[in-house]
Symmetry: C2
Subunit: 319 residues, 2 copies
């Protein structure tokens, strides 16, 4: 049996797990990223956890490597570049540095790095809803919209490692302002942040009754909107319907480029489940170029949310 | 030296050429597709031309195969499916039938089929503006907008062979009606047909003076609009500017999916040259997600228009 160590490095928490090639998480540990704002300290702590995970493996030769999923991770360069939500600024040569630190601890392991959406895609391909599927698209609906494009069984990294930014395709050329400096990007509509913007717009511009009016403005988010929609709240349902319609255009456009067999959806907003998927599938079929209709399924991730990123990062070593 | 026979099968003409692996066209012949509205007759004529081309090769073993580029050609299935501009209706098993007919003529050659935009992309990759480039996008601006997506040196066919329909990505969700039944597709704006629609809209909805007003409505097309723009005609320049702006959004969205290094543009409308490319490059940079800025070049095809499709189809045998 082969094993891999997966690292899910996020702005708040960093989790480390030993994973076997069947996707079983053997052992898991974590620490607060925010407790280590200095890179050297963070890496010292990370190495400690990796060493500890490796000790659960009887034979060190059975460990194929270390995979790291992180915001703005670059697969080609093994770097983290300008990640806005991590405490470490600039370009970090995490692959190089970590490999050296591990050797110093007697672990000669190859480190691979990718961004969090690609790690999620790897996880689905190896162990999840896209197992055995050669052409699919992974979409994570979180604070933003992340994506991974898989063509012919391989992750598409593109010329620079930054392929898979479906969240930053423009849906409305003169639409909502996006954090990226442009207008009308998919993620200004169809992320947790996007649906909140939709709800606030509807609450402010209409006097429609809604359960959401009982909440403080800060409490309005993907979760509370989904809950209200689950109670048949018309305004909340309208938010979800609008979110689904815009998402369907972004997905249909992506299908026109790479013609996947399946789209797998994960992330906080996907917890809305069928409330979101039902209108999404309807709009999606309408917005698909006819040759693709009734061919592309949309499914929720099958991986446990808490471990999906570790599994996906670990999968990098099994490529 | 290896050779391949390339077939450029179009609604009006079909051209056949013997091509060497360096992209030299050794011999070329053609016939009118419209003279052979019955499939059997068409194939008999096609086989005659293929046999004749093969005879220019001293040793038959040097011929790697036959490649066909055709509207609605499907690489996986070796078929032509529901091509609106060909006289042959339904699904045609052209690969199978042609291989049998060739064997009957003593030619045991493998036949490969792809659509015309993918053939153009193959040609650019093997011999043209994308030689040595592993990640690029080919765009043909003709009656419609065709495209081919190349990732890591391989043509992206997707799950069903129909990947690469950038012309049918939706730019304006409530925009112009498209022949495909939906609204706001890129090709309703940025094709030869699209720029004509733009010109007619501007001519009818404004009283701006323009050289185009001296023409009959049927004479207004990509060529005459480009010519007027070349003479500094303000309305014609406005048409080109608008065409470039919309095209830049479609291209920027495609870059966000596959992160190519280069975009190669061919087809009738590309004859406008720098008149189109200059505003296109400016808008493109503005509409690119920041991480991709100043990385992706836009270039015109370097292949001779008359032979590009034959070269690209022939390249299928050299894969």
């Amino acid at each position: 049996m082969k094993y891999s160590i997966g690292v899910d490095m996020g702005g708040t928490n960093t989790s480390i797990g030993l994973v076997d090639e069947n996707g079983n998480l053997i052992v898991k540990s974590n620490f607060k990223t925010t407790d280590y704002p200095v890179l050297e300290d963070f890496l010292t702590e990370l190495v400690k956890h990796i060493c500890s995970a490796s000790e659960k493996c009887e034979n060190i030769d059975e460990i194929a490597g270390v995979g790291i999923g992180t915001p703005n991770g670059n697969y080609y360069k093994g770097t983290i570049e300008l990640a806005p939500n991590l405490p470490f600024k600039g370009v970090i040569q995490i692959k190089k540095i970590l490999e050296i630190l591990l050797i110093n601890h007697g672990l000669n392991l190859r480190v691979k790095v990718t961004n969090d959406a690609n790690a999620a895609g790897m996880g689905e391909m190896m162990y999840g809803a896209a197992k055995g599927i050669k052409n699919f698209v992974m979409i994570t609906l979180g604070t933003g919209v992340g994506s991974a494009i898989i063509v012919d069984g391989k992750m598409v990294y593109g010329s620079d490692g930054f392929a898979g930014e479906v969240g930053h395709t423009i849906i409305f050329p003169d639409g909502r302002s996006c954090g990226c400096g442009r207008k009308g990007c998919l993620e200004t509509y169809s992320s947790a942040t996007g649906i909140r913007r939709t709800a606030l717009e509807l609450l402010h511009s209409t006097s429609k009754p809604s359960l959401l009016r009982n909440l403080e403005e800060e409490e309005i988010n993907g979760k509370t909107i989904s809950e209200a929609a689950g109670q048949n709240d018309a305004l909340a349902l309208e938010c979800i319907d609008f979110t689904a319609r815009i998402l369907s255009i972004g997905l249909a456009n992506t299908v026109a480029v790479t013609s996947p067999e399946k789209i797998v959806i994960a992330g906080g907003l996907s917890k809305a489940g069928e409330l979101l998927l039902k209108p999404l599938r309807t709009y999606f079929e309408q917005n698909l170029y006819p040759v693709f209709r009734n061919k592309v399924s949309i499914e929720l991730s099958k991986l446990d949310d808490n471990n999906a990123a570790i599994l996906g990062a670990a999968a990098l070593s099994f490529e």
